[in-house]
Subunit: 122 residues, 2 copies
């Protein structure tokens, strides 16, 4: 049914909205080099099966927000083949934040999964 797809898409979109910042920080932490938006999108596509979990257009506002919070920093560099590119790298603060967010993510998974399996903890 059409309504199922709408509800499912809304749910996936809300989940993604909650995880994108974590995913981007981790991607930048694990990258050996600075990346610009299109490269980040390509990295994430290679981690997704089928349709990319996070659409490219959804990355840019989160990249800007992470930069505004001091968790990423960027540098604009000219490109031979087009307009200048904004390269991102993770800051020291971003790395420390990532550590804490990974713990928050683990706790959230534990909580959600304990509800899904209908059990109490312990």
């Amino acid at each position: 049914m059409e309504s199922e797809n709408i509800a499912d898409k809304k749910f996936q979109k809300e989940l993604n909205a909650g995880t994108t910042a974590l995913v981007l920080l981790a991607t930048m932490k694990n990258s050996m080099e600075q990346l610009y938006g299109y490269q980040i999108a390509k990295h994430l596509e290679s981690d997704s099966e089928g349709e990319p979990m996070i659409k490219q257009g959804a990355l840019y506002p989160v990249l800007r927000s992470l930069e505004n919070s001091g968790l990423l920093e960027s540098q604009v560099e000219p490109s031979v083949s087009g307009p200048p590119r904004k390269y991102y790298k993770i800051t020291k603060d971003g790395q420390m934040t990532l550590e804490r967010w990974m713990e928050i993510w683990e706790n959230t998974k534990l909580f959600v999964d304990s509800v899904l399996t209908g059990g109490k903890n312990g």
Copy 2:
């Protein structure tokens, strides 16, 4: 630092916003009886360690949204000790939706964890 707490709270809040509808559907599916808001909040507290993952005030808008989407249905019943209570139960459509959302949740976990561990799939 104060700024760390703000970033962490924002992250936790966004994660919760993405998972609350799933958690509520699962809670209602697993409950043997109809529940009203306060009871649902208590159920979720018993699944959380320490501070409840989802605050009670955050439940009501999601309950209403799930009801508007036909995934929950409600019935108002008088209470001897106070104002009438709105009891919720999951609908057939809600149960089918929950099955699909659990799959979306599994896939999202796999994707996020694959990025966090820095590996490609497969």
